[in-house]
Protein backbone atom coordinates (compact mmCIF):
# COMPACT_ATOMS: atom_id res chain seq x y z
CA UNK A 1 0.00 0.00 0.00
CA UNK A 2 1.22 3.50 -0.72
CA UNK A 3 1.45 5.76 2.31
CA UNK A 4 -1.44 8.19 2.90
CA UNK A 5 0.80 10.73 4.53
CA UNK A 6 4.51 11.30 3.99
CA UNK A 7 6.53 13.70 6.09
CA UNK A 8 9.94 14.37 4.64
CA UNK A 9 12.73 16.37 6.24
CA UNK A 10 10.43 18.72 8.11
CA UNK A 11 12.03 21.38 10.27
CA UNK A 12 9.72 23.53 12.37
CA UNK A 13 9.53 25.40 15.64
CA UNK A 14 8.37 28.50 17.44
CA UNK A 15 10.12 31.79 16.71
CA UNK A 16 13.86 31.16 16.80
CA UNK A 17 13.49 27.87 18.65
CA UNK A 18 13.64 24.84 16.37
CA UNK A 19 11.69 21.89 17.75
CA UNK A 20 11.55 19.49 14.80
CA UNK A 21 14.89 18.70 13.21
CA UNK A 22 14.58 17.27 9.73
CA UNK A 23 11.94 14.73 10.78
CA UNK A 24 10.66 12.13 8.32
CA UNK A 25 7.97 9.48 8.61
CA UNK A 26 5.25 7.73 6.70
CA UNK A 27 1.72 6.80 7.66
CA UNK A 28 -0.86 4.48 6.19
CA UNK A 29 1.42 1.94 4.57
CA UNK A 30 0.85 -0.66 7.28
CA UNK A 31 -2.33 0.60 8.88
CA UNK A 32 -2.57 2.96 11.81
CA UNK A 33 0.47 4.77 13.11
CA UNK A 34 1.38 5.47 16.71
CA UNK A 35 3.81 8.13 17.89
CA UNK A 36 5.30 8.02 21.34
CA UNK A 37 8.20 9.45 23.22
CA UNK A 38 9.06 11.64 26.16
CA UNK A 39 7.14 14.84 26.82
CA UNK A 40 8.29 18.03 25.17
CA UNK A 41 10.10 16.35 22.28
CA UNK A 42 7.95 17.66 19.47
CA UNK A 43 5.06 15.25 18.91
CA UNK A 44 2.41 17.93 19.21
CA UNK A 45 4.54 20.30 17.18
CA UNK A 46 4.75 17.72 14.39
CA UNK A 47 0.96 17.33 14.37
CA UNK A 48 0.53 21.11 14.31
CA UNK A 49 2.85 21.32 11.32
CA UNK A 50 0.91 18.57 9.53
CA UNK A 51 -2.47 20.22 10.07
CA UNK A 52 -1.28 23.70 9.10
CA UNK A 53 -1.45 25.37 12.51
CA UNK A 54 2.29 25.86 12.23
CA UNK A 55 4.18 26.58 9.00
CA UNK A 56 7.19 24.27 8.61
CA UNK A 57 10.45 26.10 7.94
CA UNK A 58 11.43 23.47 5.41
CA UNK A 59 10.56 19.99 4.25
CA UNK A 60 7.58 18.50 2.52
CA UNK A 61 4.33 16.98 3.76
CA UNK A 62 2.33 15.00 1.23
CA UNK A 63 -1.22 13.89 1.90
CA UNK A 64 -2.57 11.51 -0.72
CA UNK A 65 -0.01 12.77 -3.23
CA UNK A 66 -0.73 16.47 -2.68
CA UNK A 67 1.91 18.67 -1.07
CA UNK A 68 0.16 20.30 1.88
CA UNK A 69 3.16 21.87 3.64
CA UNK A 70 2.48 25.58 3.92
CA UNK A 71 -1.22 25.35 3.10
CA UNK A 72 -3.62 27.05 5.52
CA UNK A 73 -5.26 24.91 8.20
CA UNK A 74 -8.56 25.59 6.49
CA UNK A 75 -7.31 24.28 3.15
CA UNK A 76 -5.93 21.19 4.87
CA UNK A 77 -9.27 20.52 6.60
CA UNK A 78 -10.69 20.75 3.08
CA UNK A 79 -8.54 17.80 2.01
CA UNK A 80 -10.00 15.62 4.75
CA UNK A 81 -6.98 15.54 7.03
CA UNK A 82 -8.49 16.15 10.46
CA UNK A 83 -6.54 16.84 13.65
CA UNK A 84 -7.96 16.44 17.15
CA UNK A 85 -5.70 18.62 19.30
CA UNK A 86 -4.26 17.76 22.68
CA UNK A 87 -6.09 18.75 25.85
CA UNK A 88 -9.72 18.84 24.57
CA UNK A 89 -10.14 22.54 25.35
CA UNK A 90 -12.59 22.83 22.47
CA UNK A 91 -15.23 25.56 22.64
CA UNK A 92 -16.08 25.72 26.35
CA UNK A 93 -19.25 27.81 26.04
CA UNK A 94 -20.74 26.11 23.00
CA UNK A 95 -23.15 23.19 23.22
CA UNK A 96 -22.38 19.74 21.86
CA UNK A 97 -24.86 20.47 19.07
CA UNK A 98 -22.94 23.63 18.16
CA UNK A 99 -19.63 21.75 18.13
CA UNK A 100 -21.07 19.16 15.76
CA UNK A 101 -22.37 21.89 13.46
CA UNK A 102 -18.90 23.46 13.45
CA UNK A 103 -17.32 20.11 12.64
CA UNK A 104 -19.44 20.03 9.49
CA UNK A 105 -18.57 23.64 8.56
CA UNK A 106 -16.26 22.92 5.63
CA UNK A 107 -17.80 22.64 2.17
CA UNK A 108 -16.46 19.11 1.94
CA UNK A 109 -18.15 17.94 5.15
CA UNK A 110 -21.45 19.77 4.90
CA UNK A 111 -23.24 17.39 2.50
CA UNK A 112 -22.49 14.51 4.92
CA UNK A 113 -23.66 16.36 8.04
CA UNK A 114 -26.77 14.30 8.82
CA UNK A 115 -25.12 10.97 8.10
CA UNK A 116 -22.05 11.82 10.20
CA UNK A 117 -24.20 13.03 13.08
CA UNK A 118 -25.90 9.61 13.12
CA UNK A 119 -22.48 7.97 13.23
CA UNK A 120 -21.31 10.15 16.12
CA UNK A 121 -24.45 9.46 18.14
CA UNK A 122 -24.13 5.75 17.51
CA UNK A 123 -20.50 5.81 18.57
CA UNK A 124 -21.03 8.05 21.61
CA UNK A 125 -24.68 7.63 22.73
CA UNK A 126 -23.84 9.58 25.91
CA UNK A 127 -23.48 12.75 23.87
CA UNK A 128 -27.06 12.52 22.62
CA UNK A 129 -28.32 12.84 26.20
CA UNK A 130 -26.33 16.01 26.70
CA UNK A 131 -26.80 17.45 23.25
CA UNK A 132 -27.71 21.00 24.37
CA UNK A 133 -25.28 21.10 27.29
CA UNK A 134 -22.27 23.39 27.26
CA UNK A 135 -18.91 21.71 26.77
CA UNK A 136 -17.45 23.24 29.94
CA UNK A 137 -20.01 21.33 32.03
CA UNK A 138 -18.93 17.92 30.67
CA UNK A 139 -16.51 15.43 32.20
CA UNK A 140 -13.04 14.93 30.71
CA UNK A 141 -14.10 11.73 28.99
CA UNK A 142 -17.19 13.37 27.53
CA UNK A 143 -15.16 16.31 26.29
CA UNK A 144 -12.82 13.91 24.52
CA UNK A 145 -15.86 12.31 22.91
CA UNK A 146 -16.98 15.74 21.72
CA UNK A 147 -13.51 16.43 20.31
CA UNK A 148 -13.46 13.18 18.39
CA UNK A 149 -17.11 13.56 17.41
CA UNK A 150 -16.43 17.03 16.02
CA UNK A 151 -13.59 15.57 13.97
CA UNK A 152 -15.87 12.84 12.62
CA UNK A 153 -18.34 15.52 11.56
CA UNK A 154 -15.52 16.88 9.37
CA UNK A 155 -15.75 13.68 7.32
CA UNK A 156 -12.10 12.66 7.85
CA UNK A 157 -10.02 10.72 5.36
CA UNK A 158 -7.20 10.63 7.90
CA UNK A 159 -7.71 11.23 11.61
CA UNK A 160 -4.94 12.50 13.85
CA UNK A 161 -5.39 12.18 17.60
CA UNK A 162 -3.07 13.93 20.07
CA UNK A 163 -3.02 12.16 23.44
CA UNK A 164 -6.73 11.30 23.49
CA UNK A 165 -6.54 9.49 26.85
CA UNK A 166 -4.64 12.21 28.71
CA UNK A 167 -6.04 12.49 32.23
CA UNK A 168 -8.79 9.90 31.78
CA UNK A 169 -9.67 7.12 34.21
CA UNK A 170 -8.71 3.57 33.09
CA UNK A 171 -12.31 2.49 32.49
CA UNK A 172 -13.04 5.54 30.33
CA UNK A 173 -9.77 4.91 28.47
CA UNK A 174 -10.89 1.41 27.54
CA UNK A 175 -14.25 2.68 26.30
CA UNK A 176 -12.55 5.36 24.25
CA UNK A 177 -10.10 2.83 22.83
CA UNK A 178 -13.01 0.67 21.67
CA UNK A 179 -14.69 3.67 20.04
CA UNK A 180 -11.53 4.74 18.25
CA UNK A 181 -11.09 1.15 17.07
CA UNK A 182 -14.61 1.35 15.62
CA UNK A 183 -13.68 4.48 13.71
CA UNK A 184 -10.61 2.77 12.32
CA UNK A 185 -12.63 -0.28 11.28
CA UNK A 186 -15.03 2.09 9.54
CA UNK A 187 -12.18 2.80 7.13
CA UNK A 188 -10.53 5.93 8.53
CA UNK A 189 -6.76 5.54 8.98
CA UNK A 190 -5.33 6.97 12.21
CA UNK A 191 -2.23 8.68 13.49
CA UNK A 192 -2.24 8.58 17.28
CA UNK A 193 0.10 10.22 19.75
CA UNK A 194 -0.11 8.53 23.15
CA UNK A 195 1.75 8.11 26.38
CA UNK A 196 -0.27 4.98 27.12
CA UNK A 197 1.63 2.28 25.25
CA UNK A 198 -1.07 -0.36 25.75
CA UNK A 199 -3.50 1.95 24.01
CA UNK A 200 -1.08 2.34 21.09
CA UNK A 201 -0.30 -1.38 20.81
CA UNK A 202 -4.02 -2.05 20.68
CA UNK A 203 -4.82 0.51 18.00
CA UNK A 204 -1.81 0.82 15.74
CA UNK A 205 0.34 -1.38 13.54
CA UNK A 206 3.37 0.83 13.15
CA UNK A 207 5.15 2.88 15.82
CA UNK A 208 7.58 5.76 15.80
CA UNK A 209 9.59 6.86 18.81
CA UNK A 210 10.02 10.62 18.60
CA UNK A 211 12.97 12.00 20.48
CA UNK A 212 14.52 15.48 20.29
CA UNK A 213 12.34 16.43 17.35
CA UNK A 214 13.32 13.50 15.16
CA UNK A 215 12.41 9.86 14.70
CA UNK A 216 14.67 7.80 16.96
CA UNK A 217 13.24 4.38 16.13
CA UNK A 218 10.64 2.96 13.81
CA UNK A 219 8.82 -0.24 14.68
CA UNK A 220 7.18 -1.93 11.70
CA UNK A 221 4.56 -4.65 11.97
CA UNK A 222 6.11 -8.04 12.50
CA UNK A 223 8.81 -6.51 14.62
CA UNK A 224 6.24 -6.51 17.36
CA UNK A 225 7.72 -5.68 20.68
CA UNK A 226 6.48 -6.23 24.13
CA UNK A 227 5.71 -3.54 26.60
CA UNK A 228 8.98 -3.97 28.48
CA UNK A 229 11.14 -3.45 25.42
CA UNK A 230 9.25 -0.31 24.48
CA UNK A 231 9.58 1.09 27.96
CA UNK A 232 13.32 0.54 27.85
CA UNK A 233 13.52 2.37 24.50
CA UNK A 234 11.49 5.13 26.06
CA UNK A 235 13.84 5.71 28.91
CA UNK A 236 17.06 4.89 27.10
CA UNK A 237 19.08 1.77 27.68
Amino acid sequence: MTPVLTVEGVTAGYGRVTVLHDISLEAGRFGNVGLFGPNGHGKTTLLRAISGLLKPKSGSIRFDGQDIAGLSARAIVGTGLIHVPQGNRLFPDLSIADCMALGAYSARARPHEAENREKVIKLFPKLAQRWRQRVRTLSGGERQMVSIGTALMSHPRLLILDEPTLGLAPKIKDELCASVMDISRGGVPLIVVEQDIEFLLELTQQLYLVNHGAVATEIKPGESLDHGEIMSMYFGH
Binding site: G52, L53, A73, V77, G78, V84, F91, D98, S154
Partner: protein, 291 residues
Amino acid sequence: MSALAEILFGGLFQGSLYAMMAVGLALVWTTIGVFNFSHGVFMMLGAYIAWQLVEIGLPAAVAFPVAVVVMAGVGWILQASVVRPLIGRPNIVLVVVITTLAAGSLIENGALTIWGPRSKQIPALIDGNTTIGGVGVSLHQIAIIVITPLILAALWVFLNRTRLGLALRAVAQNEDASHLVGLNVTALYGLAFAIAASLAGLAGIFMGGYRFMSPVMGSDPLLKALIVVVFGGISSISGPIFAAYLIGFFEAACSYYFGLYWTPALLFGVLILTLMVRPEGIFASRSRGLA
Protein backbone atom coordinates in the same frame (compact mmCIF):
# COMPACT_ATOMS: atom_id res chain seq x y z
CA MET B 1 -45.21 61.60 36.77
CA SER B 2 -43.31 63.84 34.48
CA ALA B 3 -40.11 63.21 36.48
CA LEU B 4 -40.46 59.49 35.95
CA ALA B 5 -41.31 59.95 32.29
CA GLU B 6 -38.31 62.18 31.80
CA ILE B 7 -35.89 59.76 33.46
CA LEU B 8 -37.39 56.79 31.68
CA PHE B 9 -37.24 58.47 28.33
CA GLY B 10 -33.78 59.94 28.81
CA GLY B 11 -32.48 56.59 30.04
CA LEU B 12 -33.90 54.64 27.12
CA PHE B 13 -32.52 57.13 24.66
CA GLN B 14 -28.99 57.39 26.07
CA GLY B 15 -28.99 53.67 26.77
CA SER B 16 -29.78 52.96 23.12
CA LEU B 17 -26.81 54.98 21.90
CA TYR B 18 -24.47 53.45 24.47
CA ALA B 19 -25.68 49.95 23.64
CA MET B 20 -25.07 50.47 19.90
CA MET B 21 -21.52 51.59 20.62
CA ALA B 22 -20.68 49.15 23.39
CA VAL B 23 -21.90 46.07 21.58
CA GLY B 24 -19.40 46.62 18.75
CA LEU B 25 -16.57 47.14 21.19
CA ALA B 26 -17.55 43.93 23.00
CA LEU B 27 -17.90 42.02 19.72
CA VAL B 28 -14.34 42.90 18.73
CA TRP B 29 -13.01 42.15 22.20
CA THR B 30 -14.67 38.74 22.44
CA THR B 31 -13.71 37.56 18.96
CA ILE B 32 -10.22 39.00 18.55
CA GLY B 33 -9.28 39.83 22.11
CA VAL B 34 -8.32 43.45 21.40
CA PHE B 35 -9.77 46.82 22.30
CA ASN B 36 -10.53 49.02 19.36
CA PHE B 37 -9.77 52.61 20.24
CA SER B 38 -10.85 53.87 16.84
CA HIS B 39 -14.42 52.83 17.63
CA GLY B 40 -15.43 56.43 18.39
CA VAL B 41 -13.95 57.53 15.09
CA PHE B 42 -16.11 54.94 13.32
CA MET B 43 -19.10 56.69 14.83
CA MET B 44 -17.95 60.07 13.56
CA LEU B 45 -17.11 58.73 10.11
CA GLY B 46 -20.51 57.07 9.74
CA ALA B 47 -22.20 60.39 10.49
CA TYR B 48 -19.97 62.37 8.07
CA ILE B 49 -20.37 59.87 5.24
CA ALA B 50 -24.14 60.03 5.72
CA TRP B 51 -23.95 63.82 5.74
CA GLN B 52 -21.90 63.82 2.53
CA LEU B 53 -24.32 61.49 0.78
CA VAL B 54 -27.29 63.64 1.77
CA GLU B 55 -25.30 66.69 0.65
CA ILE B 56 -24.84 65.30 -2.87
CA GLY B 57 -28.58 64.84 -3.04
CA LEU B 58 -29.38 61.31 -1.94
CA PRO B 59 -32.52 60.92 0.16
CA ALA B 60 -31.82 59.98 3.78
CA ALA B 61 -33.50 56.60 3.29
CA VAL B 62 -30.75 55.73 0.80
CA ALA B 63 -27.87 57.70 2.28
CA PHE B 64 -28.10 56.19 5.76
CA PRO B 65 -28.01 52.50 4.74
CA VAL B 66 -25.25 53.22 2.23
CA ALA B 67 -23.20 54.95 4.93
CA VAL B 68 -23.67 51.94 7.21
CA VAL B 69 -22.46 49.57 4.48
CA VAL B 70 -19.49 51.80 3.69
CA MET B 71 -18.61 51.70 7.39
CA ALA B 72 -18.55 47.91 7.26
CA GLY B 73 -15.88 48.24 4.58
CA VAL B 74 -13.97 50.79 6.64
CA GLY B 75 -14.02 48.44 9.63
CA TRP B 76 -12.78 45.58 7.51
CA ILE B 77 -9.93 47.63 6.03
CA LEU B 78 -8.88 48.99 9.41
CA GLN B 79 -8.79 45.48 10.82
CA ALA B 80 -6.73 44.22 7.89
CA SER B 81 -4.26 47.09 8.13
CA VAL B 82 -3.67 47.73 11.82
CA VAL B 83 -4.88 44.62 13.66
CA ARG B 84 -4.41 41.52 11.52
CA PRO B 85 -0.64 41.96 11.02
CA LEU B 86 -0.20 41.90 14.78
CA ILE B 87 -2.23 38.79 15.54
CA GLY B 88 -0.17 36.15 17.30
CA ARG B 89 2.07 38.64 19.08
CA PRO B 90 2.19 38.14 22.82
CA ASN B 91 1.68 41.87 23.53
CA ILE B 92 -1.11 42.30 21.00
CA VAL B 93 -3.56 43.96 23.41
CA LEU B 94 -1.26 46.89 24.11
CA VAL B 95 0.06 47.21 20.59
CA VAL B 96 -3.45 47.34 19.16
CA VAL B 97 -4.41 50.06 21.63
CA ILE B 98 -1.65 52.12 20.06
CA THR B 99 -2.30 51.21 16.42
CA THR B 100 -6.05 51.80 16.66
CA LEU B 101 -5.51 55.08 18.53
CA ALA B 102 -3.09 56.13 15.81
CA ALA B 103 -5.41 55.12 12.99
CA GLY B 104 -8.29 56.86 14.75
CA SER B 105 -6.36 60.07 15.12
CA LEU B 106 -5.35 59.90 11.45
CA ILE B 107 -8.97 59.45 10.36
CA GLU B 108 -10.12 62.20 12.71
CA ASN B 109 -7.66 64.65 11.23
CA GLY B 110 -8.53 63.44 7.76
CA ALA B 111 -12.17 64.25 8.48
CA LEU B 112 -11.16 67.67 9.75
CA THR B 113 -9.23 68.31 6.55
CA ILE B 114 -11.98 67.09 4.25
CA TRP B 115 -15.05 68.41 6.01
CA GLY B 116 -13.67 71.27 8.08
CA PRO B 117 -14.34 72.17 11.70
CA ARG B 118 -17.77 73.72 11.13
CA SER B 119 -20.57 71.84 12.85
CA LYS B 120 -22.95 69.97 10.63
CA GLN B 121 -26.24 68.23 11.04
CA ILE B 122 -27.92 65.41 9.18
CA PRO B 123 -31.66 64.92 8.76
CA ALA B 124 -33.57 63.35 11.63
CA LEU B 125 -34.92 59.84 11.09
CA ILE B 126 -38.41 61.31 11.56
CA ASP B 127 -39.16 65.03 11.81
CA GLY B 128 -41.41 66.42 14.46
CA ASN B 129 -42.11 66.36 18.17
CA THR B 130 -44.68 64.98 20.52
CA THR B 131 -45.38 64.80 24.24
CA ILE B 132 -45.42 61.63 26.29
CA GLY B 133 -46.41 61.73 29.96
CA GLY B 134 -46.05 65.49 29.96
CA VAL B 135 -42.54 65.42 28.49
CA GLY B 136 -41.78 66.89 25.09
CA VAL B 137 -39.76 64.49 22.96
CA SER B 138 -38.68 64.37 19.34
CA LEU B 139 -39.86 61.63 17.03
CA HIS B 140 -36.23 61.12 16.06
CA GLN B 141 -35.39 60.07 19.59
CA ILE B 142 -38.42 57.79 19.75
CA ALA B 143 -37.32 56.19 16.50
CA ILE B 144 -33.88 55.51 18.01
CA ILE B 145 -35.45 53.98 21.12
CA VAL B 146 -37.51 51.65 18.94
CA ILE B 147 -34.92 50.80 16.27
CA THR B 148 -31.99 50.03 18.59
CA PRO B 149 -33.53 47.01 20.37
CA LEU B 150 -34.60 45.66 16.98
CA ILE B 151 -31.06 45.89 15.67
CA LEU B 152 -29.62 44.36 18.82
CA ALA B 153 -32.18 41.56 18.59
CA ALA B 154 -31.21 40.99 14.96
CA LEU B 155 -27.57 40.77 16.03
CA TRP B 156 -28.53 38.24 18.69
CA VAL B 157 -30.40 36.14 16.16
CA PHE B 158 -27.44 36.34 13.78
CA LEU B 159 -24.97 35.24 16.45
CA ASN B 160 -27.14 32.52 17.96
CA ARG B 161 -29.22 31.17 15.11
CA THR B 162 -27.01 31.23 12.01
CA ARG B 163 -24.02 29.17 10.96
CA LEU B 164 -21.88 32.24 10.39
CA GLY B 165 -22.85 33.57 13.82
CA LEU B 166 -21.86 30.25 15.31
CA ALA B 167 -18.49 30.55 13.60
CA LEU B 168 -18.00 34.01 15.13
CA ARG B 169 -18.83 32.68 18.58
CA ALA B 170 -16.40 29.82 18.01
CA VAL B 171 -13.38 31.98 17.13
CA ALA B 172 -14.18 34.02 20.20
CA GLN B 173 -13.54 30.93 22.31
CA ASN B 174 -10.71 28.99 20.75
CA GLU B 175 -8.71 30.09 17.77
CA ASP B 176 -6.76 26.87 17.18
CA ALA B 177 -9.87 24.72 17.39
CA SER B 178 -11.55 27.10 14.94
CA HIS B 179 -8.72 26.60 12.45
CA LEU B 180 -9.03 22.84 12.90
CA VAL B 181 -12.70 22.75 11.88
CA GLY B 182 -11.81 24.79 8.80
CA LEU B 183 -13.10 28.23 9.79
CA ASN B 184 -11.65 31.19 7.94
CA VAL B 185 -10.44 32.88 11.08
CA THR B 186 -9.00 35.93 9.31
CA ALA B 187 -12.29 36.61 7.53
CA LEU B 188 -14.23 36.20 10.76
CA TYR B 189 -12.00 38.77 12.45
CA GLY B 190 -12.70 41.11 9.56
CA LEU B 191 -16.42 40.43 9.90
CA ALA B 192 -16.40 41.23 13.63
CA PHE B 193 -14.75 44.57 12.88
CA ALA B 194 -17.09 45.25 9.99
CA ILE B 195 -20.19 44.66 12.11
CA ALA B 196 -18.78 46.78 14.94
CA ALA B 197 -17.96 49.65 12.57
CA SER B 198 -21.43 49.50 11.01
CA LEU B 199 -23.13 49.69 14.38
CA ALA B 200 -20.89 52.57 15.43
CA GLY B 201 -21.59 54.35 12.14
CA LEU B 202 -25.32 53.93 12.69
CA ALA B 203 -24.95 55.33 16.21
CA GLY B 204 -23.19 58.31 14.59
CA ILE B 205 -26.08 58.80 12.19
CA PHE B 206 -28.49 58.67 15.11
CA MET B 207 -26.46 61.26 16.97
CA GLY B 208 -25.95 63.53 13.96
CA GLY B 209 -29.72 63.75 13.63
CA TYR B 210 -30.28 65.60 16.88
CA ARG B 211 -26.96 67.18 17.79
CA PHE B 212 -24.32 69.07 15.82
CA MET B 213 -21.54 66.90 14.43
CA SER B 214 -17.83 67.60 14.66
CA PRO B 215 -14.76 65.49 13.87
CA VAL B 216 -14.28 64.76 17.57
CA MET B 217 -17.91 63.79 18.20
CA GLY B 218 -16.91 60.15 18.75
CA SER B 219 -14.51 60.58 21.66
CA ASP B 220 -17.07 61.03 24.40
CA PRO B 221 -19.24 58.12 23.17
CA LEU B 222 -16.09 55.95 22.99
CA LEU B 223 -15.33 56.78 26.60
CA LYS B 224 -18.92 55.98 27.57
CA ALA B 225 -18.83 52.72 25.63
CA LEU B 226 -15.62 51.77 27.44
CA ILE B 227 -17.30 52.49 30.76
CA VAL B 228 -20.29 50.41 29.67
CA VAL B 229 -18.23 47.39 28.71
CA VAL B 230 -16.07 47.57 31.80
CA PHE B 231 -19.20 47.96 33.91
CA GLY B 232 -21.18 45.25 32.15
CA GLY B 233 -18.33 42.84 31.63
CA ILE B 234 -16.40 42.55 28.40
CA SER B 235 -16.74 38.84 28.04
CA SER B 236 -20.15 38.78 26.42
CA ILE B 237 -22.37 41.03 24.39
CA SER B 238 -25.52 40.75 26.47
CA GLY B 239 -23.70 42.12 29.53
CA PRO B 240 -22.79 45.42 27.86
CA ILE B 241 -26.31 45.79 26.42
CA PHE B 242 -27.89 45.59 29.87
CA ALA B 243 -25.17 47.80 31.30
CA ALA B 244 -25.73 50.39 28.56
CA TYR B 245 -29.37 50.82 29.51
CA LEU B 246 -28.59 50.72 33.21
CA ILE B 247 -26.05 53.50 32.80
CA GLY B 248 -28.48 55.40 30.59
CA PHE B 249 -31.10 55.33 33.36
CA PHE B 250 -28.53 56.16 36.00
CA GLU B 251 -27.34 59.20 34.04
CA ALA B 252 -30.87 60.34 33.35
CA ALA B 253 -31.78 60.06 37.03
CA CYS B 254 -28.58 61.80 38.15
CA SER B 255 -28.96 64.70 35.80
CA TYR B 256 -32.61 65.08 36.81
CA TYR B 257 -31.93 65.14 40.53
CA PHE B 258 -28.36 66.47 40.79
CA GLY B 259 -27.82 68.19 37.45
CA LEU B 260 -25.60 67.39 34.50
CA TYR B 261 -22.58 68.79 36.29
CA TRP B 262 -22.48 65.99 38.86
CA THR B 263 -23.42 63.13 36.57
CA PRO B 264 -19.92 62.11 35.37
CA ALA B 265 -18.52 62.13 38.91
CA LEU B 266 -21.38 59.99 40.20
CA LEU B 267 -21.03 57.65 37.24
CA PHE B 268 -17.34 57.11 37.87
CA GLY B 269 -18.06 56.63 41.56
CA VAL B 270 -20.45 53.80 40.75
CA LEU B 271 -18.01 52.35 38.23
CA ILE B 272 -15.16 52.26 40.73
CA LEU B 273 -17.38 50.67 43.38
CA THR B 274 -18.52 48.04 40.90
CA LEU B 275 -14.98 47.16 39.93
CA MET B 276 -13.99 46.85 43.56
CA VAL B 277 -16.80 44.40 44.27
CA ARG B 278 -16.93 42.60 40.91
CA PRO B 279 -13.76 43.20 38.87
CA GLU B 280 -15.11 41.16 35.94
CA GLY B 281 -18.17 43.41 35.59
CA ILE B 282 -21.70 43.00 36.93
CA PHE B 283 -23.16 40.84 34.19
CA ALA B 284 -20.04 38.95 33.22
CA SER B 285 -19.22 35.31 33.39
CA ARG B 286 -15.55 34.58 33.82
CA SER B 287 -14.92 33.34 30.32
CA ARG B 288 -14.70 35.10 27.00
CA GLY B 289 -17.52 34.31 24.63
CA LEU B 290 -20.35 35.79 22.65
CA ALA B 291 -23.75 35.22 24.16
